[in-house]
């Protein structure tokens, strides 16, 4: 027994789960968790959408998506600083930063597809999975490099986290002791708005139709007169732009950006996407919210140290009941 164990400290902490699980539930606390869960869940959902759309058209887990999210945050960071948002916040500036980063990431997404995935389009899908991982590493570790001198801006940002200037002043309300800030509200409604917009694009527009056609069989889609390359590029642009949006909405109230910020969030969003039924747009939204709330209430009412474990256990159980996720349909193939 090492002295460390001999001290036997780890034994009396953490407190037994029973005390926490059966501890009385306060309404305000419950509502507060609801608010928190929603504000994180919507972000998961936005990122999950990117995964799910790309998966739809390429059957590819775009591992780099979480890092596109990170790039989104940093483009926001650079834009905001360039425009001196920190000094004099204003909604107009915030909007410019927001749209600007979405565009930057849209372009990034298209480039990634063009150079890392398209050459492998007709190969086994695991092949492009590896390039995806490669791109992911490239972004993560590329951004960890020391800044290039004489560039004017600190790029690459390097490993130390940076402060994301607040785009506008925080206003907070406390209806029945539940803390809600204008950031939460804006973030929530923007996210929902974007999701509805996407829903419309996918199911109501020609682009959406061709997107779905490509997702079912890209070669035949070509025979129908659909420009497959453009559809796929468009899908990447959309997904990546959403990731940027998510990044800014998130960084707004959690103003820390660093090159690996996309890692954890990316995985969680991917899980959310699968949870809702990968390739399925509404599924991704519900999956994101579900995961956000699940995590929130697990760490709120059970044991936060078991959070990830319980979240995954919960996910696995759901998958065992619905093998293709909440919304994914899983019909036996016709033989």
């Amino acid at each position: 027994m090492t002295p460390f164990h001999a001290a036997g400290l780890s034994r009396d902490t953490p407190p037994s789960p029973r005390y926490r699980i059966f501890g009385e539930v306060r309404v305000t606390e419950f509502l507060q968790h609801l608010v928190n869960g929603l504000s994180v869940g919507t972000i998961y959902a936005l990122i999950a959408l990117g995964y799910t759309m790309v998966y739809g058209v390429l059957k590819l887990i775009n591992f780099a998506h979480g890092d596109v999210y990170m790039v989104g945050a940093f483009s926001g960071f650079y834009l905001a600083n360039a425009m001196g948002v920190g000094g004099s916040p204003s909604l107009a500036k915030a909007l410019v930063v927001f749209v600007g980063s979405m565009i930057i990431c849209g372009i990034l997404g298209v480039l990634i597809e063009r150079f890392a995935y398209r050459p492998l389009r007709h190969r086994a899908r695991l092949t492009s999975l590896i390039t995806a991982i490669g791109v992911s590493f490239l972004l993560e570790y590329g951004f960890q490099l020391p800044s290039i001198p004489g560039l004017g801006i600190p790029f690459p940002p390097g490993p130390t986290p940076r402060f994301f200037p607040e785009p506008f002043t925080r206003v907070a309300w406390e209806p029945f002791g539940v803390y809600v800030s204008n950031y939460d509200v804006i973030s929530f409604f923007t996210a929902v708005g974007l999701m509805l917009l996407l829903q419309y694009i996918v199911y109501r527009t020609r682009f959406g139709t061709s997107m779905r056609a490509v997702s079912f069989d890209s070669q035949v889609a070509g025979l129908m007169g659909i420009n497959v390359n453009r559809v796929i590029a468009g899908t990447f642009a959309l997904g990546s732009a959403l990731a940027a949006a998510a990044a800014l909405l998130f960084a707004g109230s959690r103003p820390k950006v660093d090159p690996l910020m996309g890692l954890t969030l990316g995985i969680k969003a991917f899980v959310a996407a699968v949870f809702g039924g990968i390739g399925n747009v509404p599924g991704a939204m519900v999956g994101g919210l579900a995961l956000g709330l699940a995590e929130e209430y697990v760490s709120g009412y059970a044991l936060s140290s078991y959070r990830d474990g319980i979240a995954f256990a919960f996910l696995i159980i759901v998958l065992l009941v619905r093998p293709a996720g909440l919304f994914g349909s899983f019909r036996p193939e016709k033989v």
Partner: protein, 234 residues
């Protein structure tokens, strides 16, 4: 309207086409027959750019197709009902048909054509809102042909349209093909049912191991002893 010259296609090491040349005149029916693995499908795929030929040229109304993408080719009035039917298994019969008309904007025109297809293949009307993946083999084949027709093509490539169809339906398919060509649509038809194909073909080519070994009018080939022996099983 379509002229293929010295088309060569490789699958990795395998040379599937070794310089195929053929002509499809405006509004005519051209049949392409040959044993399994002769290269018929490959020819069609190369024409509609589902695969990139190694060399050779494909001209459609004077325009080189080998440089275009599949979707441009469709836009120029060339439809392809591929081997293995290539229908969207997760979409309903109706959605499949509508995708066939993807490039068309005339809403009621499309609706009218859809009706026409249903009258040609009543079973499809019955299955209209069923997911295509659950259709029987033959039903899928019908859907594939119907969908190709939805784009109102000037030239229609058909890869074994009668595959797996009941005799009655085979009859109907070939009747449909006659009508279609009567409306001035040219057909490039790959068929194992050589007899029927040659019957409606103005002109026919026989393919063996990636090369054209014989050509002539449908009647001539139908009469030729080699063809009767090799492809009509006599």
């Amino acid at each position: 309207m379509l002229s293929v010259k010295d088309l060569v296609v490789h699958y990795g090491a395998i040379e599937a086409l070794r310089g195929v040349s053929l002509e499809v005149p405006e509004g005519q029916v051209v049949a392409l027959i040959g044993a399994n693995g002769a290269g018929k499908t490959t020819t069609l795929r190369a024409v509609s750019r589902m695969l990139r030929p190694t060399s050779g040229s494909v001209r459609f109304r004077g325009e080189e197709l080998t440089r275009l993408m599949p979707h441009d080719i469709v836009a120029r009035g060339l439809a392809h009902a591929p081997e293995g039917r290539g229908i969207f298994l997760n979409l309903t019969v109706k959605e499949n048909l509508d995708l066939g008309a993807f490039l068309r904007r005339d809403g009621d025109g499309i609706a009218a054509d859809r009706e026409r297809m249903f009258s040609l293949f009543p079973i499809l009307r019955e299955r209209m809102s069923q997911v295509a993946g659950t259709l029987s083999g033959g039903e899928q084949q019908m859907l594939s042909v119907a969908r190709a027709l939805m784009s109102r093509p000037k030239l229609l490539l058909l890869d074994e349209p009668s595959l797996g169809l009941a005799p009655q339906v085979v009859e109907r398919i070939f009747q449909v093909l006659r009508d279609v060509s009567a409306q001035g649509v040219a057909l490039l038809l790959v068929e194992q049912n050589a007899h029927k194909a040659l019957q409606i073909a103005h002109r026919a080519y026989v393919l063996e191991t990636g090369e054209v070994v014989m050509t002539g009018t449908g009647a001539e080939l139908l009469a030729s002893p080699e063809v009767r022996k090799a492809y009509l099983g006599e």
